[in-house]
Symmetry: C2
Subunit: 348 residues, 2 copies
DNA sequence: CTGAAAGCGCTTACAG
DNA sequence: CTGAAAGCGCTTACAG
């Protein structure tokens, strides 16, 4: 009778010893075969592979990494604001693709802008001995990474700088992109441009607000505090803030500094039937931007480019590059779709 | 002079031995302290914690799991169609939250509907000795998981059944949901309802098409092959297929069986200015569905519910539950927003 | 080219 | 309550 496995019956995993015994070789030979060491005699390779196949042997990579010089686990950590955020998840995919091509797996986690969670998750990743970490940080003090870097863990920051600047940073040109977005509204005849943004403590919000101010200053327009709203974190907060702002002040255009905010603003503009009157440019692209009427003009970032670049830098660091930390600024580009180019109503 | 760390200088990580030596205890005591064993004398706990703090000691969890009974790594794998797909990424977040609350980390990967990639990534996860795997499968033969289950790895499937049914499955009520969606179009006076869907080899596409047929049959409407398009995988393919279908046939309504397809169809309806004439109901919610005019009526699934339920089942299995595999069907719900309820034009 | 011994950083099993 | 020995499944360093 065949040794048929009984479902549910627990069976121990075979180890290198089992394979070695069945193949009639030493375990070191099994190790060589599974690590593709070329100097093993062909007939031994065959015997080992046959035995392994028969036993259903699979090497234990975590055990392997324990003794390996450098202790590399071939795993990297990726800490995002939220893995389900469209922007974050595109970064994630780019990092995954880059890593997978190099036989490295990605442990991803969401920080939700929580300082403590950043520390806690970083620590957890360290305890698993990841080889490197790509992080979209939520805290503003990163001195804790120094000890990890000395222990051999590489870091690359995304979107927001580590403080102090202890590791590479990959960012979009937030300030320049925001300036060009607002300039676009001004070029289209708008004069009372409102700003809706995230908490100013958030680096990107800060930079984009600075770009907003740059554009106004260059054109010689005074900034009007009643047209500015900070501290918006969700689409629904943005929706409410937009309604309040559109009711209390009279902007003729809105610059929304982030995709969730753009979505909230859009909802309000449509509800209040102002979508053909008040111009809108958003920072960061949004899904369906093409389908809404008018289409949403945005200053787009390239999450894929950011993820790929961050992964490239991380692997370079993991390979031993010890040059000083640098900042990599990626360009943004304007996608014109209609909402930013509405005809200005004739003056009364 | 303080022993200031020199940046860039590589420094070995302290181990339990180092902590034990500094604290003047055995390594087993250090182990007990870091595992919160309550029977350690308070002063020893203090000495160990102080020494660990001073050395910057962090336990090596991968080493710990090696000897631990059961060899648990406190890591699970999550294989999705694409981590950057809005639906997949919401499932991911739900799984992450459930796992994190239990001190378990998630290794996520994208399968892109590729059979080989499923095998390959599953194998990679196994080689890292994950405790369990949640998978949205792309292949149609899952006998390979039996050996892994016997070795103690738990599996839960999402969206599509394993074949044969070797593990738990969590799915939306695809067939029933599709039937109700199409019924909704029929209830609103539509009679020539078109179907746009993914490859029929994909389980969900199959089920949703069956639901489409159910609704027509119940109402006594003959199915018309010229109104059906299968094999659509991307938004742009759907966009083109919709244009071709709307040109060649004359549907008065469209049921799009998936979010990317809904997006493609929407683009075409708007471009051809048919969005107020041809009714639309999509399966699965899409972003900005509220903002488009008319709003997009959808039969929504709950990715968060699916992720949470899958995680709950996986942890139950990992805790030792050996009951027979079961199918968990989660309800879908109709979100009425306008596109499915357009007034029917008066007959000529 | 091959393999026996030692060791990676922990936990288990056991003795005191 | 505490610790010395053995072992998890591999790789390193070394001898033949």
């Amino acid at each position: 009778m065949v040794n048929q496995a009984h479902p549910g019956e627990r069976r121990d995993r075979p180890t290198m010893h089992d394979v070695a015994a069945l193949a009639g070789v030493g375990i070191k030979t099994v190790s060589r075969v599974f690590n593709d060491v070329p100097t093993v005699a062909p007939d031994l390779v065959t015997r080992v592979r046959t035995a392994a196949e028969k036993l259903g042997y699979r090497p234990n990579l975590t055990a392997a990494s324990l003794r390996r010089s450098g202790g590399r686990t071939n795993t990297i950590g990726l800490l995002l604001e939220d893995v389900s955020n469209p922007y974050s998840s595109l970064v994630h995919r780019a990092v995954e693709d880059y890593a997978r091509a190099r036989n490295v797996l990605v442990l991803a986690g969401s920080l939700d802008e929580d300082h403590d969670r950043e520390r806690e998750l970083t620590r957890t990743l360290i305890d698993r001995r990841v080889d490197g970490i790509i992080i979209m940080p939520s805290s503003d003090d990163h001195r804790y990474i120094v000890a990890e870097q000395q222990a051999g863990v590489s870091f690359v920051f995304i979107d927001r700088p580590p403080s102090p600047l202890l590791a590479d940073l990959v960012v979009s040109d937030n300030r320049g992109g925001a300036r060009r977005a607002v300039q676009h509204l001004l070029d289209n005849g708008r004069r009372a441009v409102a700003f809706l943004g995230d908490d100013l403590g958030v680096y990107t919000a800060q930079q984009r607000f600075a770009g907003f101010c740059d554009a106004l200053a260059e054109t010689g327009i005074d900034s009007r505090p009643e047209l500015v709203r900070h501290g918006l974190r969700t689409a629904s907060q943005a929706r409410d803030a937009a309604r309040e702002l559109l009711t209390s002040a009279a902007p003729d255009a809105i610059f929304s500094s982030q995709n969730l905010i753009t979505i909230g603003v859009l909802e309000t503009l449509h509800r209040m039937d102002l979508h053909r009157t008040v111009a809108l440019v958003g920072f960061d692209d949004v899904p369906l931007a093409d389908v809404v009427d008018p289409g949403v003009t945005v200053m787009a970032q390239g999450p894929t480019g950011i993820g790929t670049e961050a992964a490239r830098l991380l692997f370079k660091r993991m390979a031993g590059d010890a040059s000083p930390p640098a900042v990599y600024t990626l360009p943004t580009h304007l996608i014109v779709r209609g909402s930013g180019e509405l005809p200005v109503p004739a003056a009364p």
